[in-house]
Symmetry: C2
Subunit: 243 residues, 2 copies
């Protein structure tokens, strides 16, 4: 946790915040913060700044906060992610959120096992928890918008074409794509990035996604795992937003 | 597994190979390959090509192999990785090997818990297993060279300067580095990349590594996890080797 993220409901005074449970334990046990210390603090979906520790008792920490700085810039990316196994999904979602993606569609494809859609990780409260931890890692405050699309065809036929029109780059990551449509580095503006499931898209899906406006490209001849492909595909944007 | 990797000891004839155990089970159960099918095959540290399935019995598969193609090009990267928690280490090593890194030094720093050096994952047989699975994912055959450096100071003072001189780029990935020394994209030649432990390098270590010839840079203002930073840092090289 590189920033303590608070919610409006944590306020007990105009600038006074009460941390409890996980966050209080972390501040006490891991950061070993004491009264008088300052810790990086942010309001979920709001500004970041300083929290001055005013009181520490058994697993309760009171902070006097001053939040004046904007959250870091979002990546100009919309991510279309075929739902991977729950364990991998958690890691991939964390990576995307830590790296600054704010718009994520989780969608179904042929090689997505039906059982994956039953995972409790897709419940709002669980998604929220994964995202908050990822933002605390990244020193960011803004939650992403996550939309579940359990039906491939209506999503790709009716919604993806509009998404594609609204982004300058439209990348369909697909490992077996032969000569790759090259990624052009810097300056990179917005991108719609679609990443297949473990095992990849089937040809029919590739064709449908291309018809919806995406361009096929690969990250080289090696076949990467989903959790490697996502950070690799986002990397050029990290660099273009900051250098 | 996107390629079946065989060893010299698997040969039972000039071109005939016997697969057993994990690989045979995978070919039978996951690929559902039958006599007459061809599957992508490679010799560890050798060439790749075709394996024609000649016989299938209970968890034994016989292949007639023809290996004529070179393994994919290696990334021109030497990776210096501070040893993370075992669970994370396994993922990070897999990612680096899948993405094509062939020279890896695992080293110690202040924030590497001493207990991590006791993990069985660092035994030769376990490292070999992790690497083979990663190569089977990547469709590659060449095992990386992995060296353990459990003492920070002699490694950084005596060996890193020589490594730094042999690479065109020398990147010290460090999240809190303020204005970043920019990564220049394309064409990227060789690079020495050092990545800190979970929690980062301490200032003393940053200074030592800079003195050894590395240049500090960051992947933006966000603090990434090690398993996200490694694929992100390698991504520009994937692209320059293939486009």
């Amino acid at each position: 946790m590189n920033i303590v993220l608070i919610e409006e409901t944590d306020f007990i005074g105009p600038h006074r915040v009460l941390l409890q449970e996980r966050q209080a334990r972390h501040v006490i046990k891991v950061l070993r913060a004491k009264v008088g210390d300052r810790i990086k603090t942010g309001l979920v979906n709001g500004k970041t700044g300083d929290g001055l520790i005013c009181a520490v008792s058994d697993f309760r920490v009171e902070l006097e906060v001053e939040l004046t700085d904007p959250a870091p810039e979002a990546l100009p990316i919309t991510l279309l992610l075929a739902l991977p196994r729950p364990k991998v999904f958690k890691r991939v979602l964390s990576a995307a959120v830590t790296m600054g993606v704010k718009k994520i569609f989780i969608f179904n494809t042929w090689r997505v096992d039906k059982s994956y859609w039953q995972t409790p990780l897709l419940r709002d409260d669980k998604l929220n928890e994964i995202c908050l931890l990822a933002l605390e890692q990244a020193v960011d405050t803004k939650l992403p918008e996550i939309t579940l699309k359990p039906l491939f065809r209506p999503f790709v036929e009716d919604e993806v074409p509009n998404l594609a029109r609204r982004h300058e780059n439209t990348w369909l990551l697909h490992p077996h794509s032969g000569p790759a449509a090259g990624i052009k580095y810097a300056p990179l503006n917005s991108a719609l990035i679609a990443i297949g499931p473990e095992g990849g898209f089937i040809s029919f899906e590739v064709e449908m996604l291309k018809k919806a406006g995406l361009k096929q490209f690969s990250l080289g001849s090696r076949i990467l795992r989903v959790e490697q492909a996502v950070p690799a595909a986002l990397a050029p944007f990290l660099l273009s937003t900051t250098l």
